[in-house]
Each structure stands twice: as C-alpha cells, then as structure tokens.
Symmetry: C2
Subunit: 111 residues, 2 copies
DNA sequence: CGGAATCCAATTCGATACTG
DNA sequence: CAGTATCGAATTGGATTCCG
C-alpha cells in the first residue's frame, strides 16, 4: 500500500480506494475471486505474469485489508483456498466498471 | 505507469485500467476535474499532499493517456488550464464508485 | 504562475532457488 | 502444493531550489 490510509483520508476517499486497491494484480485477483473460491496455484495460472512472491504479498495485503479470506487446510499436500469477504464482494461494481473501461482504453490504444 | 499497457492487456482489462489510473493522486485529480476546468495551482491546493514535481508528472501522464487536456495561455503571468477529455469524463462512474467505496472503507478502518 | 532541475529515500517488483 | 529466502534492478515519491 503506497499511501497510508490515514493520509489518503486527509485528501480524498478516492485516494483511500486507490491506496488499498492500486497494487499490481490486486483488482485482477478480486475479479477472479468474484467468480468463486480459488486455490493459490489456480490464481497463479490466472495471473501468469505474477511470480509467487508478488502473488503472496498482494493476497496477504488484501487479507489484511479485509477484502480476501484465506483458508488453510491441514492436509498433505497442503491446500489453501482464497475467497472474498463481504467487503471484497462489494468491489464488484468497481471491478466491472474498470474491466469495461480498460477494454475500451486498450482498443483505442491499439488503433 | 507501472505496467506497460501491452503487458497488462495480456492478463486482464482490469489491469490496464489499474496501470493507467493507479498512480497516486491521479483519480483524485480526475475527480476534481469532473467538477470543471482547473489551473495548476488550484489543483495543487485541492491535493495538498502532492508537491509540484509529482503533480506535474501525474498530469503529464494523464495527458499522454488522453484523459486530461492541457491548455497553455501565452500571458504574463502564465496561465495553464487542465480539463478532461471525453475519455476522462468516461471515468465518472469509476470515480464515483471508488469515492463511496473508499469512504466506507475509511469508516470501518477507523472504527 | 507554472513549472523544471537536482538529489535522495523508500518502495516495489522480479528472477531465482529452495522447503515443509 | 503453497509458499519463503535472498538479492538486486527499477520505479517512484519527496524536499528543496531555481527560473522565465
């Protein structure tokens, strides 16, 4: 999280959202989790440019911010499942809006 | 812009939007510009934590991405006005969604 | 007024290798 | 399978000063 939430609040609620969601891959992860629970390596395959270190970090931060729930099963081989909290599901309108805006931007960008 | 648009596109349109809009202050600047044209130092006062270097950089990047229009008037003292392009105005739903989401997050964060 | 220049601190991100 | 450890490169943000 680049800007501490306290400081972002001094300026604008928009900036709070950016500081929580702005990390690379974070909203893409949320998008995939909106479709259902996923395991660690599943998410890794869905976001192929993220390496394990980065993936772990983003998921941990999302967890700390109450957006993602992490459930670990004491099995061999290990199984860890990620899902959205209620707060995470409340991001659906933002994710959908950014998905379509990003698609349009990319279209203009190519042309 | 952290991740090049071309690479973001390989993964997800959401990531394109994040790479274009994710910089600190960028969406806050867009929010203020949604209310009308603003001059450089006006924006500086509206985003008091950003110094001139950062402010200039973010505005330039938004300009390069076709979101902000910069108009310079050959006067003394100089006057430079910033406004949104059509593409910039199309961000209104995202900005509003993030504004209310950020406000709720900050509320829970305090409590 | 609207920046540009300089210098520096702090993140952040990635590649790679290894592990319980 | 689901990470952790280490290292290093790169980006980024900030403070300050100066300028036409």
């Amino acid at each position: 999280m680049r800007l501490p939430v306290e400081r972002a609040m001094e300026v604008c609620p928009v900036e709070v959202a950016v500081s929580v969601l702005g990390g690379t891959w974070k909203l893409t992860l949320v998008k995939h989790l909106l479709a259902g629970t996923r395991r660690f390596n599943e998410l890794g395959r869905l976001v192929p440019l993220a390496n394990t270190k980065t993936l772990t970090r983003q998921l941990r931060e999302l967890e700390e911010d109450g957006i993602v729930r992490r459930t670990s099963y004491p099995e061999v081989p290990p199984r860890v499942e990620y899902s959205l909290t209620e707060s995470g599901r409340s991001l659906e309108p933002i994710v959908k809006a950014m998905d379509s805006w990003g698609a349009e931007f990319a279209e203009r960008y190519k042309g």
